[in-house]
Amino acid sequence: MKQFMMIFLGADYSTVGQSPEQMQERMGKWFAWGDKMAKAGVLRSGDALDKAVRRVSGPKRTVTDRAGSEIKELIGGYYVVAAKDMDAVVEIAQDYPDYDLNGTVEIREVMVFDK
């Protein structure tokens, strides 16, 4: 089995104007999805990421702070899953809860080097 990372790109939740009720409902969908993957035994790891962003870039190691709300496609979190191939992960990604908020799942295979 190969491992793949699903990277979640989307709007900062605080800018999309959801009510507490809608947030709770959305969270229920995240739970259900996590649960489904865990039961299928494919979930390896994963976390949600806080919206504060600090970047270090360039030869001068320039440090910049950016608020999540300024970034159009903020990385909100990731899951690593075990699967046969990309197509199988596309199948898993069908249940990602944030498509209605124009969210995106980027699927990347985790590279493995032979010893």
């Binding site: 939740y13 605080s14 104007g17 959801q18 009510s19 507490p20 009720e21 809608q22 947030m23 709770q24 959305r26 969270m27 229920g28 995240w30 739970f31 259900a32 996590g34 649960d35 993957m37 865990a38 039961k39 979930l43 390896r44 790891s45 994963g46 976390d47 949600a48 990421l49 806080d50 919206k51 909100g76 979190g77």
Partner: protein, 422 residues
Amino acid sequence: MPNAPNNADQTQLIDHLFRHQFGKMVSILTRIFGLAHLETIEDAVQDTFIKAMGAWRNGIPENPEAWLTQAAKNRTIDLFRQLKSEKERAPYFESGPAAIAINELFLDREIADSQLRMIFTACHPALDPRDQIAFALKTISGFSQSEIASALLTKEESVKKRLSRARNMIRDAQLAFAIPQGNELSDRLPRVLEVLYLIFNEGFHSGQKEMLVRKELCAEAMRLCKMLVDHKEVCSPNVQALFALMCFQAARLDSKVNELQEVIDLRQQDRSLWHFPLIVLGNQMMFMAVNTEEMSVYHYEAAIASEHLKASTFEATDWDRILMWYERLQVVAPSPFNSLNMAVVHIQRNDLEAAKLVLDSVVPEDLEQRAYLYHGCMAEYHRNRKDKAEALAAIEQAIQLVTNEHERSYLLLKKEKITAMR
């Protein structure tokens, strides 16, 4: 390996946890920072849910509510720093050790107290009645603008206007965030009950197609009313009577509409769908509520509702007793709607002369956009007199005036029946 939620219980949160938590936290923080900071506070509370959505992805904490409360406390301290650095006044912190004071406000009893303060703020007489409803739903019940708009069958834009008008009014008038005491309490309480009853009726009588939305409005009104019942100083026989009335009405909610979302009148309702536990609760409440010399509108309306619930079939309805309650209601709160109801009762009792007398006393224009009710009742009167032509003319007028789709189809059905008369 993440601690993915593997226990079925852990993947379920209590219904409306976030919504109710929102109301609690906004009320507590408002007590700490003052009404002037309401918008900042609402955003801050919203933030704690966003945090929870990320942090709980791999498993719900053992006590989600405590987690959220702690997050709100932390936000409070952040906010305090932020507001202090803006050199803003944070009244609560001017006296006493702040940390201890904050902790005390998060105790259950104080939470209830804070929420009651918010209810009295929302229902302050300085606010326009329609703004009061929108503001209460937003601030105490955590509805979003679009949820309020759909619940009240209005545009989101107008909800936005109402909310900002209410906020401005509260800020400009520098309303105290407090539960009124003594005489002021008895002056202000009636309006609070009125607003809660309006919210309830928005759910109970609404033309809203979604039963879920209607139930939520009724449930919110009942939750807020229960808070008044549970507060020693605020609770009064009138508060209990309103709560009893809401229980009695809510017990019938499921039977009011069929699967096709059509309105079903009392005669056709499936009485086995009436929710018995609510009737019991209403009876208990009513038992306490009658412990007074002066009966209110809510007492009489609850008495009428309970007469209907007592009848095992429509035919078994005790119309004489209902008429008696309506007559008493008419003494404490005369209204043309009440007159119409009395006319309906007279028709049920086959006393057409009395019905006519009452109907003649009603000026349809006084009923404003609900004047169709008058013509509907007229149609019923003429139908019982076997005067088909007059009945048809009246129902036609009712259909022309009605705006609510549900009511329209109900009237159209009635017209068919009249047309079928011989």
